[in-house]
């Protein structure tokens, strides 16, 4: 009935489907998980540590991408929430005597509660002003870590006993590593599940147009709260694992450099692409370790990377993957190459 001006080219579509199982997103991610799974068997302790840090940042970056890339909402507070997660889990173990397996979920719940306490009043603001309010929160959180001595142990932070994994027959480092791997896989899968559901579509609708979103009965405020909550969950889990990895929690781990580091992960991977964030998180952690101790170069390098990606490759890594790997599909990510 409607005259078709440009039919999709059928042969190309078929080709994509046939090669999909070979070079698609799922097999690529599966290979990645496999590599991470065997890493502790062949790497030295430092490499295992870097791998573990990368897994933690995969969780952080994927969580932030739900907010930034899927829902299109800005927040500079994710590094601060990461810190809240680390402090909450660490302090629950150290000062409240909770075991790690209990401290981690409770710490995550505390992170979500604090995240919402900030997001709720800030949601009254629109756009840029909301963004600035979250910057202020990030600075405030850092200040609290340093100055609320009686709870946070102040500038010097605190040291905990290593998490005990003997019940599973694992050393601490191996235990934390595989726990991080399992949680990262589960949380990435969860992000994909959410993305492809009604909730994910509502988040994208919010990103694209609040007016159009409302016209399909999406409650704007509720959807924003969902987005902020989800991101806080990921930040809380990542923070708890981070405390478990280092056994030391100090304020400067969560300084404002986290802002550019995490934005870079999301943008380099591709706004709205879960797989992209995961890949970029691993790459950037390796890069950051390479620049260890050179704060000025880290700032200049990551700042330029963020700027350059936005200017010259706004689709991120995942856009290149989609172009060069015919089986790679990525739901809801923006900057399509049609």
């Amino acid at each position: 009935m409607v005259t078709l001006s440009n039919e999709p080219s059928a042969p190309r579509a078929i080709k994509r489907r046939n090669l999909g199982w070979l070079v698609g997103r799922r097999p690529a991610l599966a290979v990645g998980v496999l590599l991470f799974a065997v890493l502790p068997l062949m790497a030295n302790p430092y490499q295992v540590y870097v791998g573990n840090l990368a897994l933690i940042y995969v969780i952080l970056a994927v969580g932030l991408n739900i907010l930034l890339g899927l829902a299109g909402q800005l927040s500079f507070a994710n590094g601060a929430l990461f810190g809240v997660g680390a402090y909450a889990t660490g302090l629950l173990r150290l000062d409240a005597g909770l075991p790690f397996w209990l401290a981690l979920p409770v710490g995550t719940a505390i992170t979500v509660a604090i995240g919402l306490a900030v997001a709720l009043p800030a949601l009254r603001l629109r756009g840029l002003y909301l963004a600035l309010a979250t910057v202020a929160f990030a600075q405030f959180a850092l200040w609290t870590f340093v100055h609320w001595d009686s709870v946070t142990h102040g500038t010097a932070g605190f040291v905990m006993a290593p998490v005990d994994f003997t019940a599973l027959g694992l050393r601490t480092t191996t235990g934390i590593y595989y726990l991080s791997l399992v949680l990262a896989v589960l949380l990435v899968a969860a992000a994909y599940g959410i993305m492809r559901s009604r909730v994910g579509r509502a988040l994208v609708a919010l990103r694209e147009s609040e007016v159009a979103a409302e016209s399909i009965a999406v409650d704007i405020t509720r959807t924003k709260i969902v987005a902020y909550t989800l991101t806080a969950v990921y930040a809380g889990v990542a923070g708890g694992l981070f405390a478990g990895l280092l056994n030391v929690v100090v304020p400067e781990s969560f300084n404002l450099f986290q802002i550019v580091l995490q934005f870079c992960m999301v943008v380099v991977g591709g706004l709205g692409s879960i797989a992209g964030s995961a890949i970029a998180a691993v790459l950037l952690i390796v890069l950051q370790e390479g620049l260890r101790g050179m704060q000025d170069l880290q700032e200049i390098g990551l700042g330029l990377l963020l700027l350059g990606m936005l200017l010259f490759a706004p689709g991120g890594l995942v856009q290149a993957l989609r172009r060069w790997l015919p089986g790679w599909t990525e739901p809801h990510s923006r900057g399509g190459d049609e």
Partner: protein, 292 residues
């Protein structure tokens, strides 16, 4: 006595916040964007003045002009490198790009002017000994700062009301499309706006340098104080930004004196949160109408 001291130092830093806030609001009104590297422009401006005045021994006025010129150029660069190329991109991309720029500038500041935690002393312009005015000890540098800020504001007002460029900036802020239709080269106006906004941050940096310590990390806290000022003054109002800046300066000086000096670092956050919870339109602001 304590109160008078707190007030005088509060007014001094408030005047500077006002200057930075006006630059922020100026760019926001005209371009619709907040430059997240605004605080770093301030930082670089301060270090430029330090290089010219302290390291090379050039007269203070040369340092002032150099810092203003340098930050103006950085503002124009922001326009060329970030604003113009991303003008059609989603706003979120623009914000993140200025964040990227802010870290580049911060890294440059750290690379050339010192590592984390190091600070740079800047000798006072006038005699460091306090003078008594009506029984209150005031540092002459404070008087110089307040007077200079007042002069800057007057110059800015003249610029907007008397000069062609200033009028074009006003017109573009009111309605960019209409300005374009009457033949104003809107792109040029944007460039000038970023430059002038940045230059104001540079001026502020040169005045504040002798009073405080410059660090590569100063930018963000300054941006937040300027932001607290604009939010207090109502979003997007220049007069509001000036009044808001003074209020922020006085409030944090009072809190620093009577509660705890470390509170000063987070005064911006507390003010922002308080305004959001109790009066989301700002103390002086009108409710922004929602666009459909």
């Amino acid at each position: 006595m304590l109160l008078a001291y707190a007030l005088s130092s509060g007014i001094t830093s408030g005047a500077l916040y006002a200057l930075v806030a006006v630059g922020l609001v100026l760019c926001y009104r005209t371009t619709g964007h907040i430059n997240f590297s605004h605080g770093e422009l301030f930082m670089i401006g301060g270090f430029l003045a330090f290089t010219l005045h302290v390291m090379w021994g050039l007269p203070y006025i040369v340092a002032l002009l150099g810092a203003v010129a340098g930050s103006f150029v950085l503002g124009v660069l922001t326009d060329r490198v970030v604003y113009q190329p991303l003008i059609k991109a989603p706003p979120i991309a623009m914000v993140m790009a200025t964040v990227g720029l802010s870290f580049v500038l911060k890294g440059i500041g750290r690379h050339f002017w010192g590592g984390q935690g190091e600070v740079v002393p800047f000798p006072p312009l006038v005699s460091p000994a306090p003078v008594l005015i009506g029984g209150v000890a005031v540092f002459p540098q404070q008087l110089v700062v307040v007077a200079s800020v007042v002069v800057c504001m007057l110059l800015l007002t003249l610029f907007f009301t008397r000069t062609r460029a200033g009028k074009m900036m006003q017109a573009t802020a009111e309605n960019a499309h209409a300005a374009y239709l009457v033949g104003i080269r809107v792109e040029r106006v944007y460039m000038l706006t970023w430059g002038v906004g940045a230059a104001l941050a540079g001026v502020a940096a040169v005045f504040v340098a002798p009073l405080t310590l410059l660090t590569p990390d100063i930018g963000l806290s300054l941006l937040l104080k300027a932001f607290a000022a604009t939010i207090l003054g109502g979003l997007g109002s220049m007069t509001g930004a000036v009044i808001g800046g003074l209020l922020v300066g006085i409030l944090e000086a009072l809190a620093g004196t009577y509660i705890a000096s470390s509170i000063q670092d987070v005064s911006a956050f507390i003010i922002i949160l308080a305004v959001l919870v109790f009066r989301p339109t700002g103390l002086l602001g009108a409710r922004a109408r929602r666009e459909v």
